[in-house]
Amino acid sequence: MFTYYCNLALRSFRRNKILTALMVLAIALGIGASMTTLTVFHILAGDPIPQKSDRLFYPRIEPRTKQGFQPGEEPEEQMTRFDAEALLREHRGDRQAMMSGGALSVESGDGKIDPFVVNARYTSADFFPMFDAPFAFGSGWTGADDENRAQVAVISKELNEKLFGGGNSVGKTLRAGDNSLRIVGVLGKWRPTPKFYDLTNDRFSAVEQVFVPFSTSRTLKLGVQGNMDCWGDQTDADGSVGLNAPCAWVQYWVELDDPSKASAYKQYLENYSNQQRAAGRFERPTNVRLDNVMQWLDFKQAVPSDVRLQLWLAFGFLLVCLLNTVGLLLAKFMRREPEIGVRRALGASRRAVFAQYLVEASAIGIVGGVAGLGLALLGLWAVRQQPDDYAELAHLDMPMLFATFALALVSSVLAGLLPAWRAMQVAPAIQLKSQ
């Protein structure tokens, strides 16, 4: 029966080529637009570290002076160097890391490549195991390296390819500015999206190319970059990046191997905050937050608002396209009322009529979906031509491919339901009489 219905559908398409083509086009445009935006959204709004995003926490405490205080405010988004170093020393989480963005000029040993500037991350030893950073060669540095301010570095796969031709460069020397850093590890392919561990710099760019111990970065006075919020008077000899500078510019992460430890850790942060106020360093009331990865991304609204807007726009467009298809299908089916009447009079059940027309509607949907997939690929290609950081990531993956077909099928079947239902309702007697 099914093949017969398919055959009938095909005949019907042949009879009304233009109308059918228009319906297919409308569905294809709607699906194409929605899939393009949904894919981009899916890439940007995903969980960058799904295996442990509920065990990684971003603590915030309030270090500012009383001046400018407004009750109910969120605490400072980053930490002062003093607090981050204190928390790191006290070591109350299962793992913890402090970090900041930076920039380094890098030279190749043989002088064949002109010096160039790369983004760097100054962090502490736990960074790599905490964020499951994959290593192609070697490994991260140790806590002892942090304490000894060792001149070591982990470099990215890209930098390793550029400077060392992609070979095992562990033990070799990286020339960064006036300094020589011993390479202890080379990262593998790693692209957390968004780059959740630091949302103050570019959120969707590739990971940094050089990683250096934070302590070493301060000894070598390497340049930092990212947001910095300062208050009160500068007194530190090292300026705003000094240990005692009243400036928040350090990101701090803690890993708790069980999410239930979060409340105890929060209590610890409150105690720390209270102590600092008692000591006269903090002036505002204790204001502590402890967000896991997804909560923090949500708070920082990591997904660009334009991407959200595009998503809604595309779904609105899809809805109009579907309404259009429902209307046209309805018109098409109603035109065949006499035919339906004859079939019914000859003994076709309502169910059979319904099935036949649903098959026809679904066929339109599937063709529209396939065409929509093509348009989505075109749309994603267009997205990749944009200058945005995330552009290169805009590819359709397997789950999204299946989602496309599901969306095409579901929406077209939904669009077909009403017209098929109406077709089924045709009373045979009236149609026969009016012939």
Binding site: G177, N179, N324, L330, Q386, P387
Partner: protein, 407 residues
């Protein structure tokens, strides 16, 4: 023309009529807001920066490792940039609009004020008014003795303070409404609550990024610092000579030190264009969606109207046989479409306001101006009439003889 027969016909096609109405309503709601969003983006793209856009070149360099005497090098750099033929002014500064760096500071009218009056972007450098092409509307530019050396100012034990400040007109009006700002004292960058005296007001200078939203886009101040060592330079020249000046400037900077990397070198208009690229893309995208929606809606109307004409061929033939003119048949279908479109537009307008409410919450957009509603209505009415014209003419062409067949 009597609309009652039209209404009664439509009542027998409730589903199809409802679909058309819904489609028009949804298109109307989306299009009104999309046009509004485009207008907002265009407004943003076209807001003036306050600087001489077409005359500027900006260059950013990074040093390799530490420089022994950064200030001496900065002085040398600025001197050699100024010596380039065709350069009207050149300086080293901390930031230039839309260049991914933003320095901001609070500004207060009282010392130790709990909540500052406003937050402004702070432009630091020598001769900025001239180098950026700003227009002084009140007071004067900084004098030579007001400038303070950047490196000395930043020494940890430095007791230096900045005596003067220049405000933009927007800052001046916010701080001192209905009075002259010149000569007044404000508290911002100096430590130990030493005030700056306002010496001048410039017409406009945009913030480097969208901090504070559109309302605070003009909140900037200028401070008199000399020989900045931040690696950002700006040159002002004839628009026609920008390319040659840029090339000569890069060469001069590279000559002054071989331990540096030129990070960026662009005419300022390119910097501006890049900054607004995503807004421009979004505007084009919205335009594409609007056109697609109009086309899809029009096709829906054409399709359904054709179906109705075909279905009513016999009925039309009878009317024609009974003496109805072609014009009356034509008007019948046009009136029918007008009624459907009107209902759709009314629902669409309510929807447009609903969507606008959501956008106002999520994107800090202003309220949809009422003007959009009549214009949107007119567009959709015209669209409906144009789409129905073809099928309606086909209906009008039905010969009266049809009525005599197959009855």
């Amino acid at each position: 023309m009597d609309i009652r027969p039209i209404l009664s016909t439509l009542r027998r096609h409730k589903t199809a009529s409802a679909l058309i109405v819904l489609e028009i309503a949804l298109s109307c709601a989306i299009i009104c807001n999309a046009v509004f969003l485009i207008s907002q983006r265009l407004e943003k793209i076209h807001r003036p920066t306050g600087v001489a856009d077409t005359e500027l070149v900006r260059i950013r360099v990074a040093g390799i490792g530490k420089t022994d005497d950064a200030t001496a090098l900065a002085k040398e750099d600025i001197a050699s940039l100024r010596a380039i033929p065709g350069v009207k002014a050149a300086t080293s500064l901390n930031q230039i609009p839309f260049d991914h760096t933003s320095w901001n500071s609070s500004v207060s009218l009282q010392p130790k004020q709990d909540v500052p009056n406003l937050d402004a972007s702070t432009y630091l450098g020598e001769n900025l008014v001239d180098a950026l092409g700003l227009r002084i509307v009140e007071g004067r530019d900084f004098t030579a003795d007001e400038y303070v050396d950047w490196e000395s100012f930043n020494k940890p034990d430095s007791k230096l303070t900045l005596p003067a400040i220049i405000l933009t007109r927007e800052v001046a009006q916010k701080l001192f409404p209905n009075q002259s700002a010149v000569g007044k004292l404000v508290y911002s960058w100096n430590s130990n609550d030493v005030p700056h005296r306002v010496v001048g007001v410039v017409d406009r200078l945009i913030r480097p990024n969208d901090n504070g939203g559109p309302a605070e886009a003009g909140y900037s101040v200028l401070l008199p610092l000399r020989d900045l060592t931040q690696g950002t330079f700006v040159l002002r020249t004839d628009p026609a000579r920008r390319a040659e000046v840029q090339k000569a400037a890069v060469a001069a900077l590279e000559k002054n030190s071989n331990r540096r990397i030129v990070l960026d070198q662009d005419p300022f208009t390119d910097v501006v264009a890049k900054w607004y690229q995503s807004d421009r893309n979004m505007a084009w995208l919205l335009l594409a969606v609007i056109v697609a929606l109009l086309v899809v809606t029009a096709l829906g109307i054409v399709g359904l109207a054709s179906f109705w004409v075909q279905q009513r061929t016999k009925q039309i033939g009878v009317r024609r046989a009974l003496g109805a003119t072609r014009g009356q048949i034509l008007r019948y279908f046009q009136t029918e479409n007008f009624l459907l479109a009107t209902l759709g537009i009314v629902i669409g307008m309510i929807g447009a306001y609903g969507i606008n409410q959501l956008l106002m919450g999520a994107y800090e957009l202003p309220r949809l101006p009422a003007l959009y509603l009549p214009v949107g209505a007119l567009v959709l009415w015209l669209l409906g009439q144009a789409s129905v014209l073809g099928p309606a003419r086909r209906a009008a062409a039905v010969p009266p003889a049809v009525a005599t067949r197959t009855v």
